[in-house]
Every structure is written in C-alpha cells, then in structure tokens.
Symmetry: C2
Subunit: 182 residues, 2 copies
Amino acid sequence: MTIFFVTGNKEKFREANALLGEFDVEQVDVDLPELQGEPEEIVKEKARLAARKTGKTVFVEDTSLCFNALNNLPGPYVKAFVEKIGVKGLYELASKYEDKSAYALACIGYCEPGKEPLVFKGRVNGRIVSPRGDTRFFWDQIFIPEGHNKAFSEMSVEEKNKISHRKLAFEEFGKWLEKNKK
Amino acid sequence: MTIFFVTGNKEKFREANALLGEFDVEQVDVDLPELQGEPEEIVKEKARLAARKTGKTVFVEDTSLCFNALNNLPGPYVKAFVEKIGVKGLYELASKYEDKSAYALACIGYCEPGKEPLVFKGRVNGRIVSPRGDTRFFWDQIFIPEGHNKAFSEMSVEEKNKISHRKLAFEEFGKWLEKNKK
C-alpha cells in the first residue's frame, strides 16, 4: 500500500520517509485551503479534502505553537503570526506575560478515500525565549523544550528530530500503521 | 435578480436587507470552511465556494479586528481570540503595547457562478479600550471608533449601524450593484 504525504516541503517528506521507513510513502502536492479551527479539526478536514481530491490514501501534517498565557493561541495561526510580526514579535508577545510556558503540537491527519480521517498527535512542552541559534525553521529560535537548555534552533537536525513534536506524532502514526496496515 | 447572503446570522441578514433595500436579497445557509489568510482573500474564496455549492449569485461577509501594534493581527482570527481569551483577554493583549490603535474591517465577497469573485470593503479606525457597555456583539465592548467617545457597545444599534465598517462595506457593495445590476 502506498500512502501519499500531502506537502510541498521536501524536508518534511524526507523526515516522514525516514520515520515511516517500512511503508511506501510518496509525496503529492495538492492545493489545499488553510483552515481555521482547532488543530485536530484542521488536519482532519485537510486530510478529508486531500483524499477526496486525489482518490488516494493520504496524510497531512500541521504544526501549532501554543502559549499557555493565551489559552493555546497563536496555535494553528502561528504561521500568520511569524509572517506578520516575525519570530522576534512572537517572542515579544510572549515576554509580556508572566507565564512563558508553551507547547509545540504536531498533528497528522490520515484519510483513506471515503472513510473518516484519523488524527495522530505529538506534543512537546517548553518555554518561549528570546531568538537564538540557527534561523532554519521559523519559530525554532524561540522555543526551548522541557528538560533541555537549548532552543530547537541550537540543536542539530538529528538531535531535534529525536525529540520533536513531529517525531512523536510520526511515531504514533507509525505504530498505528504497523498494527493496522501490515 | 435575487442575491443570496450566505450567513447563519439573522441580525446580519436584516441589516444587509435594510442596506441593500432595492435589491432582492435572500438568506441562505451554506456550510463553508473558516479559512486562514488575508481578509480579502478569505471572503473571495468563501464566495467562490458558496457560488459553486449553490449555483447561485451569493455574497459573504467577514469582519476583522486589526491591532496596529501587531501588524494587523488578530485580524481575521479575532473570533478565535474571543473564544480562547475572551474580550477581556483581547483588551489585555492590546493594553500591553504602547500603540493601542486598531481598525475594524468588514469585507464582502460577491460571486456569480463561474465568475471571479469581487470584494467590497469598509474600514473604521479606532482604538482598543477596557471592556464597557452592552455585551451584545463580541468585541464591540473594546473598540472606540475615531471621532467618537463611546465604544460600539455603548451606542444604539441604529447609531452603530450608521457609522460601522459593515455599513461602509455594504454602501460600497450597494453602489456597485446599483451601477452594474439594475
């Protein structure tokens, strides 16, 4: 069985391929709307749309950055925030609140054509700090995961990929595939 | 010609009907996704989807609340912000920045089946204040329009509807209809 990862991001595809190594994963680029809502609902709906459009078994992945002081916002709108006020502006926003704790959430929506989508999640708690390290991935610079003293941006890709929210979500997804699709 | 206003909100429908008095406006309830993006793009896409789904000439209306200190955010995500942190939380967010100026933006997306959607806008500048007045409409309580000393929530419906961003957008829309559809 081939599963199609709906993404325009080749880096994410390579990562998924490595993490789901035993399964046949291919990349497909589908024009999907960016939706508002709860992170779980967004990936569900996007997976449903992608399965309908392509007629294939697909999955999508979305990442949220959730500030506890803002009751989980910006959450799925973090991309818009980075575009509008930058990573520095996002840090400044967090810095104005006493509670600087946050969590990174990766949600994978999986859908077989005509079926109800499933959601797999990975969550990493942490805190927001002033921008540091590499600028390769947009808000990596301001997020230090719990139990670490480096921001994601200060870790090597391998180091980050061992502990990241995306890694955890793919693990959950992989376990499910292993159990249900082998 | 009948134009269909896609909304579940009867109050908005009554207002539209009054403002577009000479035209035959009917209400239609279509299940549309909440989209992310620039306010203009969101209503364009929603109008396009609604025209496609119904096969009718339709319009949709969306309102954004834009903080200048946050480069126009929360903008189209203001509904999510009110749901997550409340009107009080939204005020507190604004109060942390020196620049408390903001604007209310109404966007109308109009679409005839198979054609490109059009957008009509109404904008009212103002500033964010601590919650006051009536609670009838979600962020009316914290927005004082320029040249006034009362929040929208402290005005009568008639008073607000004379100067509101939605009124201005409907005026633009009405003028265009008058010129092109009579």
